[in-house]
């Protein structure tokens, strides 16, 4: 066992964890943040477990909890602020970018990082950005649309243009 200090969604936690515990299990089981999902055999292919580590999208099944010691983690539960859903979350609902919702938290975490780096992406760039996330329900069509529309809204918000 090892004691780690992690900031998750803005709250500091000091927890004792087995060295072999995966970060995704730490989030789900120790902190009861079950929005982060497991869809593959901890092989990093499905992307449902994607979270932010110090602001960068990472797959939490490919990390041990002890590796997050001293770092800041954001999960899907931490995306929406006091002022409500983010433009990306809203766009996923408005454009029907989710069906069963199992892959959605990972996609939101990946795409919020992606949009910070690529504020005006083409559809092709969005599709390339999504290759680390598998979705079985949507065929990706509405996901691409939701990301595109969120990007537009965020750009217009940033430049003061009303949507």
């Amino acid at each position: 066992m090892k004691t780690i200090t992690v900031t998750v969604n803005g709250t500091d936690y000091e927890e004792s964890v087995p060295e072999r515990m995966l970060l995704v299990d730490f989030l789900r089981e120790k902190l009861a943040l079950t929005g982060t999902h497991v869809g593959c055999t901890y092989e990093g292919v499905c992307g449902a477990c994607t979270v932010h580590l110090d602001g960068e999208a990472v797959k939490s099944c490919l990390m041990l909890a002890v590796q997050a010691d001293g770092h800041a983690v954001t999960t899907v539960e931490g995306l929406a602020g006091a002022d409500g859903l983010t433009p990306l979350q809203r766009a996923f609902s408005n454009h029907h970018g989710l069906q069963c919702g199992f892959c959605t938290p990972g996609i939101l975490m990946n795409m919020s990082d992606f949009l910070a780096r690529h504020p005006d992406p083409s559809d092709e760039e969005i599709r390339e950005g999504l290759v680390g996330n598998l979705c079985r329900c949507t065929g990706y069509v509405h996901i691409v649309r939701a990301v595109r529309e969120a990007a537009r809204e965020m750009r217009e918000g940033a430049s003061g243009v009303s949507a």
Partner: protein, 798 residues
């Protein structure tokens, strides 16, 4: 998002879903998120061999580990759980149903079969302990090829059956051998006189629809209430009956809850699984909650494997392009067949029934043999059984067109069933719709002459463009007349609609969705009928303790049967509401004299006579005095809906590709659809169903393949080796509609989405063959990969 004020407009509105808020904020509650106090964790020990006798199991080391609570073997569990088959999960079709228990007894029959069960206080400890269960095996010869399995001298998968032929059927020509022989002779006569005949073997590989959330079950037991089981399932009510029968627990002491949020089903969560029995037995024995969450590795080894068929198809046609007769000899690779409800062969059975598709045939001769092999059992996957038969037929039709030098699109249109209803040569009833209208809508979107000009231009530049078509008649719900024989279950839809004293509406349904948006579509229907808002409607599904019986979220039952039951229940309640309202307003009036609109009930004869919906509802529930004679207070109704005959929906696809004739690489440039989905409830949701189904079809056809080596070892049990399509692999999709309201449902709706992937492999491969027509290439096997094309191109060039 629409802002809808007129209540009638809720039907057809592109509303954002009620489900979304919780799902985009991480507040969904899937099975693996449910935790009970004192909950134990289960891990299965699974067979390392495809076929082997179990000569010993040493569980002592595992049992001795700190934190391990119990270890079960097949022999131990056999004494406490009945064997399959049991009637509740067995079709009324003649077949050799294998006997099996939750854990393997005596021998293992496929790589990945559950052999032992470890229960521990901690998930990590359970995994460790499972590795310390030592099973001794004596390997047996394996059979992995279905035709070999049906031949003389093959190893037997289920020895007691004396044969690997689990199921065989002749689907045309009547019931008696004499009638069937007469039909076969008549079909042969047509083939003899036909101007053109295509005779071709088509193979479809083992693939299916793997949901992103694997399976799981959490069982809780106490001696007074009995068993409560949370299961990732499409059919909680069937699971409840099966658990009751197989564990010998009175049915009233079994409650099954499908979590409200399920990470997809697509058929994979429709069977009754042996793992559920094992976990329920452990919880009952230990009197502790026990949870099993399937790993992806286990999932890919055990479920989501379908399609695996060979179809020897023959088509006879006249030189004018009239399709005359079809003859098919199908052989399906069933795997071991050890799943309740389906037993593997129910899918190829329906696939054979659905072979004739939307075309008119004078006669057909369709036979099917299904062989047991040492592979995982086939489990249902969206486009249930007919992905391979549609591939064969749609390819076969293009091959006829190529022989005749005819435009394949024109050949299709000429042979579409012109008017409905119609009964196919395999006996499938098509109730309503307009196939030609759907087809013509597609052709309008596509502009075939313009494409042919572009194609010719491209060819002149050494580029190979191609266009391909496919279409699909799909079940809209599964009628009792099909579901009782096929799965021993009723087909009707059932819904309870309960009004609460505050004027809100609660709807209860026994089917358990997995992402299709049933909360939203149901709420839109209720809102339209009561003139209220969808936000005033709460939909509960999947808890057998609170919902009426339903056979499950299968076969496009929601838009057809469930929503229709909801509409019937609402109609009953509106009758009662208006009877009492008329009495209160001292009017001689009944329901047709009132309009439910914008939260009010308005008397059409004098619109100053109106009452808020909430006020009338509260009056009837809370203040049941001064009622008309014979009326009682309260507003709740359960309705059942079943159409007199089976119902269908219909769609057509067009695919445009570009192929690199040197490397065999190809890309999809355009995908256009035309759909008859009846009355649309929420076009966003229907669009999403079509997008998902088409990409599933593409992913199945191009990427996914379950691979077994020559010893029956599964080689594709992770997502590195079992490749699903990513966003970068697939095109945008243009969905268009040419609907005909269904005359047999109260709202004109059709159930949609289930069969939708079936027309995809035909349209895709037809497009590639069209692109490569200068080389005369005819694709006859799936998956379609650049390497395969490269070989075909090399052969064509000599």
């Amino acid at each position: 998002m629409s802002s809808v004020e007129n209540s009638a407009d809720w039907l057809g509105a592109r509303l954002a879903r009620k489900e979304d808020l919780r799902l985009v904020t991480g507040q969904g509650r899937y099975l693996a998120d449910i935790v009970l106090p004192g909950m134990l964790h289960a891990v299965f020990v699974r067979s390392e061999y495809a076929h082997a006798r179990i000569t010993g199991i040493d569980t002592s080391e595992a049992r001795a580990m700190a934190g391990v609570v119990a270890v079960y073997t097949g022999e131990e569990m056999k004494a406490h759980v009945k064997s399959m088959p049991q009637p509740v999960v067995t079709p009324n079709l003649p077949a050799r149903y294998p006997t099996f228990w939750p854990l393997a007894v005596d021998k293992v029959k496929f790589h990945g079969e559950p052999v032992a069960l470890v229960i521990a206080r901690d998930k990590y400890v359970a995994v460790d302990a499972a590795e310390c269960v030592y099973v001794d095996y004596e390997e047996l010869p394996v059979v992995l090829d279905p035709e070999q399995a049906l031949g003389e001298g093959s190893p037997l998968v289920h020895e007691e059956d004396g044969s690997n032929e689990i199921f065989a059927m002749t689907l045309t020509g009547g019931e008696t051998p004499e009638e069937q022989a007469a039909n076969a002779a008549a079909v042969e006569e047509i083939f003899q006189r036909a101007d053109v005949v295509v005779s071709q073997r088509f193979r479809c590989h083992r693939t299916g629809i793997t949901p992103m959330e694997p399976r799981g079950v959490l069982c809780d037991w106490n001696d007074s209430d009995g068993l409560t089981a949370w299961i990732t399932t499409q059919r909680p009510h069937i699971d409840r009956l099966a658990l009751s029968d197989l564990l010998d627990i009175p049915a009233e002491q079994v409650r099954v809850v499908a979590p409200r949020d399920q990470g997809g089903g697509f058929g994979v969560k429709a069977p009754f699984y042996r793992e559920n029995l094992a976990i329920a037995h452990a919880a009952r024995t230990l009197k502790r909650p026990v949870r099993w969450v399937e790993s992806r590795y286990e999932s890919l080894m055990n479920v989501g494997q379908e399609r695996d068929q060979i179809n020897d198809l023959e088509i006879a046609a006249s030189k004018e392009g009239k399709l005359l007769a079809l003859r098919n000899r199908g052989v399906a690779d069933n795997g071991v067949g050890t799943t309740g409800v389906y037993w593997g062969f129910v899918m190829p059975f329906l696939g054979a029934v659905e072979l004739p598709n939307a075309y008119t045939w004078e006669r057909g001769d369709v036979q099917l043999r299904v062989a047991t092999t040492n592979k995982a059992p086939l489990t249902p996957s969206r486009a249930f059984g007919h992905f391979p038969t549609r591939f064969a037929l749609e390819r076969g039709i293009d091959m006829i067109a190529h022989r005749l030098g005819m435009e394949p699109a024109e050949l299709r249109r000429r042979n579409l069933v012109p008017t409905l209803p119609y009964t196919s040569v395999t006996g499938e009833y098509y109730d309503s719709g307009d196939f030609v209208k759907v087809w013509d809508n597609l052709m309008e979107r596509v502009d075939l002459p313009a494409f042919r000009a572009e194609q010719a231009q491209a060819r002149a530049e050494g580029r190979y463009l191609g266009i391909g078509f496919g279409c699909g008649v799909e079940l809209s719900g599964v009628a009792s007349e099909l579901l009782v024989p096929m799965e021993n279950q009723p087909g009707y839809g059932a819904a309870s609609v309960r009004l609460d004293p505050r004027g809100k509406v609660l709807v209860f349904g026994g089917d358990a969705p997995g992402g299709q948006g049933h909360e939203t579509t149901t709420a839109q229907v209720v809102a339209a009928l009561f003139g209220i808002r969808p936000s005033d409607v709460v939909v509960t599904t999947g808890d057998t303790g609170t919902t009426p019986f339903g056979s499950g979220s299968i076969g496009a039952r929601a838009g057809s049967y469930f929503v229709s039951a909801v509409a019937k229940a609402c109609a009953e309640l509106k009758d009662k509401i208006t009877r009492i309202l008329a009495h209160d307003l001292q009017l001689e009036a009944s329901v047709q004299h009132f309009e439910f609109v914008n939260g009010e009930i308005v008397y059409l004869g004098d619109d100053s006579k109106r009452k808020p919906f909430t006020e009338v509802v509260e009056r009837i529930i809370m203040f049941p005095i001064n009622l008309p004679e014979g009326e009682v207070g309260g507003l709740e109704h359960t309705a059942f809906f079943e159409a007199a005959k089976p119902m269908i929906c219909f769609n057509a696809d067009c695919c445009i590709v570009e192929v690199d004739a040197d490397s065999g690489n190809f890309s999809i440039r355009r995908w256009v659809t035309s759909e008859d989905v009846g009355t649309l409830i929420n076009p966003n949701i229907v669009d999403g169903q079509m997008h998902g189904a088409i990409v599933q079809g593409l992913s199945n056809a191009m990427f996914e393949e379950f691979v077994y080596d020559e010893q029956g070892q599964q080689m594709s049990a992770d997502f590195e080796h079992y490749k699903l399509a990513t966003a970068a692999d697939v095109p945008d999709i243009e969905v268009t509609y040419a609907p005909t309201p269904c005359p047999h449902t109260p709202l004109g709706t059709r159930g949609i989405g289930e069969g939708r992937p079936s027309s995809v492999p035909g349209a895709l491969t037809n497009a590639v063959c069209d692109a490569l027509s200068p080389f005369g290439i005819e694709i006859t096997e799936l998956p379609l990969r650049p390497g395969t094309l490269w070989k075909l191109l090399r052969e064509a060039r000599g």
